[in-house]
């Protein structure tokens, strides 16, 4: 991954902060106009506006610091989520959450537990299958019958 790629990925969190802050400033400014309608003199907008402004300042400071200290940024560990087991596990989690809705908890969980073990390093499909189904069964029994917890 080249330097631009590293810096681009590294800036993602700072960009997210600035987006959050901007949304907060917009919302806070919008709501602060209604303060007079409420009994409390502050209303629902000013606190949000103030904290968002602080966050915006921090976000800008983080970005500026990144550009000023470019050497430090280039030494940062590359964040290639899509290439590693973490990315695959995360993708599987997303698919699992989708699958629960359409396949039901038992089937979706069995498939999830079988596949996620492969990501975590289990080499044998037979062991994955046996362990995956066993975990699913234990979860179902423990949560549904013993704990009376609702399952997704």
């Amino acid at each position: 991954m080249n330097r631009k790629g590293v810096s681009g990925i590294a800036m993602t969190l700072e960009i997210i902060l600035l987006v959050m802050a901007t949304a907060g400033i917009y919302e806070g400014a919008r709501l602060s106009k209604t303060a007079l309608l409420f009994v409390d003199p502050v209303g629902p907008g000013w606190y949000l506006f103030f904290m968002s402004c602080l966050l915006f300042v921090c976000g800008i400071a983080l970005l500026l610091r990144r550009f000023i200290r470019r050497k430090a940024a280039e030494r940062e560990v590359s964040f290639s989520l899509h290439q590693g087991p973490a990315g695959r596990a995360l993708l599987l989690l997303f698919l699992y959450a989708f699958a629960i809705t359409y396949l039901g908890y038992l089937i979706a969980s069995a498939i999830f537990f079988i596949l996620v073990q492969r990501i975590f390093g289990e080499r044998s499909w037979v062991r994955c299958a046996v362990t995956g189904v066993s975990i699913t069964g234990c979860f179902y029994f423990a949560f549904s019958y013993l704990a009376s917890l609702p399952l997704p």
Binding site: A10, L13, L17, M20, A21, A23, G24, E27, L31, T34, F38, V39, D40, P41, V42, P44, Y47, L48, M51, S52, L54, L55, C58, G59, L62, R65, R69, E76, V77, F79, L81, G84, P85, A86, A89, L90, L93, Y96, A97, I100, T101, S109, F112, F113, V116, Q117, F120, G121, E122, T131, G132, I135, F139, F143, A147, S148, L149, P150, L151, P152
Partner: protein
């Protein structure tokens, strides 16, 4: 008062009652171990089991469940870096690091011992100081609570670790995230953007288990670890200097927990953060906090327990539950037709002291049950991660769903898992985000209520002496923060090269 406690013990102790207490502790621990199931949820799940017992047996079994659940939550914090509830977050910071060093046994043991110390001190505190201190706590109004929240927020600087700017940013982000939903004071929607699911806001538990649990599993998957700890487990019980350090930290945490437990509305999660922050500030080696320091486990655990114990004072003296767990205990007692409300100490003292004695017996039972089991719990960290990781993810999903029976919370935990993973990779501290998420709404609520009372005058925050003291102390702590000056000097040194 002290004879009342003795009478309570006489009524509570019998072989059958002790058996029910043991059973409650055992069940509470096993259910509480499940990630995302905090003490409140555990009590709710196991409460029906006490319905068939007489009131004294019910209370004592409930006490066992309560302490078992609290300890179970600590167990997952220490062994898997998954806090059972917000108050367990500080325990994760050093407890999990101790596990990764093969010292899981020491962490679990000091958590149990610290809880026991706090429970013992709490029972004595109740005996001698109870109702008198409850009146003092009532002197706290919104302005004083705002001052206290501001003071608590200074812990952000301590939790920011090596990068103050990232820590403060994370804290502010947490404050912002907590505003999503309907404003409780005005009923106005904030940061909902037309998405109906966001009307109820973000629940703290899915955020927590995502940031800590899911993120940790993703991180461990990438690191391809064989198990949380690979090697021979160290001592199961701390000894010598480690034990002494843990005990002193437990005492300090106990004091913090007992004092703060008097105030209604001061959540245990805030208290544990304060205890951790205090411990770090007074330590000779604050830079080691977060790397597996025993004080980082002992103090928050003791503070958590002490806070719950002291919460019985306003509960029994004034009928005011100070924490969600106290509210649940109150409701449980009412279900059995037991008299609760103000003046319980004075009008039904025998019953009140039986409850206090039962809680203490539950505390003792926790120690008796879990110290021998420390070895068993510690061995959980030796389970191959290809099995433990999927189990953790599975329990996280169920735990997130069980809060509001909503897949939205499941999605929240997964998304925050990604956020937490990114934060870990980028060296961002996660604890400030949680602290901001918890403290932000409380600060706002008390800030606005104070201005409501003062007619919009900001002078109320200086005119109320307790509030002014807290704010000044907070500012002083910020200025005295070692983080602040060391980072300034590091920045200056870096700029000059």
């Amino acid at each position: 008062m002290e004879t009342g406690l003795l009478d309570g013990f006489v009524r509570a102790i019998s072989p059958l009652n002790l058996w029910y207490c043991f059973l409650g502790s055992l069940l509470g621990t096993f259910v509480g171990v499940l990630p995302a199931l905090g003490p409140a949820a555990t009590i709710a799940i196991l409460l029906p089991m006490t319905a068939y017992l007489d009131p004294t047996q019910s209370i004592i079994m409930l006490a066992g469940i309560f302490y078992g659940a609290m300890y179970g939550g600590s167990t997952t914090s220490i062994l898997m870096n998954i806090p059972g509830e917000a108050s367990s977050v500080p325990t994760c910071l050093d407890g999990y690091q101790m596990t990764r060093q093969g010292r899981a046994g020491e962490a679990l043991a000091i958590a149990a011992i610290g809880s026991f110390i706090a429970g013992t001190a709490g029972a004595l505190f109740l005996s001698f100081a109870g109702p008198l201190l409850a009146e003092f706590a009532l002197a706290f109004g919104s302005a004083e609570y705002f001052g206290l929240m501001f003071f608590s927020l200074t812990a952000l600087f301590s939790f920011s670790g090596s990068d103050l700017l990232k820590g403060v940013s994370a804290g502010l982000a947490g404050i912002l995230l907590a505003t999503v939903g309907i404003d409780p004071m005005s009923g106005i929607q904030r940061l909902v953007f037309g998405i109906p699911r966001l009307l109820s806001g973000l629940d703290v538990i899915p955020v927590l288990i995502g940031l800590f649990g899911v993120a940790e599993v993703l991180y461990s998957a990438e690191a391809r670890i064989g198990s949380v700890y690979e090697g021979k487990l160290g001592r199961l019980i701390p000894r010598g200097k480690e034990l002494a350090k843990g005990l002193w930290a437990s005492l300090r945490g106990t004091v913090i927990g007992l004092v703060t437990g008097l105030f209604p509305g001061l959540l245990p999660s805030v208290v544990t953060f304060i205890a951790y922050d205090v411990e770090k500030r007074i330590s000779k080696y604050p830079e080691k906090f977060g790397t597996g320091v025993i004080e980082g486990v002992a103090s928050p655990e003791a503070a958590n327990n002490g806070n719950c114990q002291a919460g019985f004072i306003p509960l029994f003296a004034l009928g005011i539950p100070t924490t969600p767990i106290a509210a649940m205990l109150l409701a449980s007692l009412m279900i059995y037709g037991l008299p609760v409300g103000p003046m319980l100490f004075t009008q039904h003292g025998d019953f009140a002291w039986t409850v206090v004695a039962s809680m203490y017996i539950g505390n003792v039972m926790l120690l008796i049950l879990n110290l021998p089991l420390v070895g068993l719990w510690a061995r959980l960290c030796l389970i191959p991660y290809r099995i433990l990781g999927p189990v953790i993810l599975g329990v996280v999903i169920v735990g997130a769903y069980s809060i509001r029976n909503s897949m939205f919370d499941v999605w929240t935990s997964i998304i925050f898992g990604l956020v937490g993973y990114a934060m870990k990779k980028r060296g961002w501290p996660i604890a400030p985000l949680i602290l901001g998420f918890i403290l932000g709404p409380l600060m706002e609520q008390h800030f606005r209520a104070s201005l409501q009372g003062s007619g919009g005058s900001m002078l109320i925050f200086v005119q109320r002496p307790i509030c002014a003291v807290f704010i000044v102390l907070g500012v002083v702590l910020i200025l005295m923060s070692r983080n602040l000056w060391s980072k300034v000097s590091t920045q200056q040194a870096g700029d000059s090269t």
